[in-house]
């Protein structure tokens, strides 16, 4: 399965069903990310259920604490 993550093409040797599964594989905490899928912003409560398709473009903005 091919995904374009933050502009870089990445090949996965197994299907990644949802955005949440992708974030888990990348070790990125869901609650600390802002996600855009094919140009549309994904609500945080939809991250668990939003399905991924081959060749999807996904933008992952990951935040760290401090302010």
């Amino acid at each position: 399965m091919k995904l374009i993550i933050n502009g870089d093409e990445q090949i996965f040797d197994h299907p990644v069903a949802t955005i949440a599964q992708l974030l888990e594989q990348l070790a990125v905490p869901v609650a600390r990310t802002a996600i855009e899928l094919n140009g549309a912003v994904v609500a945080q409560h939809q991250i668990e259920t939003t399905a991924l398709q081959d060749a999807d473009h996904i933008e992952i903005v990951s935040f760290v604490g401090g302010g």
């Binding site: 600390r32 604490g65 302010g67």
Partner: protein
């Protein structure tokens, strides 16, 4: 030709010098700023549309003149654009209090500052509050501090927790919102909510400012047309690096700088 003296238009003869204008309009002036530059030479020839500020260094200033005098070091055209702007600041802590002070001093017309916390002693190592303000609502304390130095800025102090449910009501009138929260989860949640609910709003967020690592690791990243993130993207306050006023202040000042550039249509 027409020139402006202390923001009032006056007609003077061509080739009038600064010394002649001072002698004519305010001979007791001990200081001057001409087109943002202080202390012009007496023989400087004035030009059409020049902006000259004349004042007494130890003089008393009428409230009505203060805004123009305070902003005399900024180009007038830029100041007018900044005066027309409304910027939101989500969080009035280490980032937000510095962003707010920078934007207020630059003459932003209106600031909407939102936070739900009170000032605590451990805030004072980096946040722009006074010891006597410990225990006060942060937005009340910040608004009071800003009005002391920048009486011309309109401040909406919103003492509420900001969430997806109220961000449109609070920031709906803001063309730009600076995300200045502390917790990573709050940052992600607000940025997502604003991008979904106020898609035309430009967000200037911050991520990665903890510790005392290299300042050169701090960058301004444009994630999409309406989202900028300032920081090193990596240093996490939750990992025990700590928060220091200088480095937090650099990121906050960059956020305010980006907001100013957006308003002035400058390339970022």
């Amino acid at each position: 030709m027409q020139i402006y003296i202390n923001d009032t238009p006056h007609t003077v003869e061509a080739q009038t010098t600064f010394a002649q204008a001072r002698a004519c309009f305010l001979p007791e002036a001990t200081a001057a700023i001409l087109n943002t530059v202080p202390n012009p030479a007496p023989e400087t020839v004035l030009r059409e549309q020049d902006r000259l500020y004349l004042y007494k260094r130890r003089g008393e200033f009428a409230d009505g003149d203060l805004r123009e005098l305070i902003l005399a070091r900024q180009p007038h055209e830029a100041t007018e654009k900044l005066r027309a702007a409304c910027v939101g600041i989500a969080g009035a802590g280490g980032l937000g209090s510095v962003v707010a002070e920078n934007l207020a001093r630059a003459g932003i017309g209106k600031l909407v500052v939102a936070d739900c916390d009170v000032v605590e002693p451990s805030n004072l190592n980096r946040q722009r509050f006074q010891l006597r303000q410990v225990g006060m609502d942060k937005t009340t304390a910040l608004a009071a501090n800003l009005r002391e130095s920048c009486p011309f800025v309109t401040i909406d102090a919103i003492q509420e927790r900001i969430s997806a449910d109220n961000c449109v009501r609070v920031f709906g009138a803001c063309a730009i919102v600076c995300e200045c929260f502390d917790a990573a989860e709050s940052k992600a949640s607000l940025v997502t909510a604003l991008r979904r609910q106020l898609p035309d709003c430009i967000i200037v967020a911050a991520s990665g400012l903890a510790g005392c690592g290299s300042a050169q690791a701090i960058t301004i990243r444009r994630v999409s047309a309406n989202l900028y993130i300032v920081g090193d993207m990596n240093s996490d306050a939750d990992s025990g690096l700590g928060l220091f006023a200088p480095r937090v202040g650099i990121v906050a000042s960059l956020q305010a700088h980006v907001a100013t550039q957006i308003i002035l249509d400058e390339p970022i």
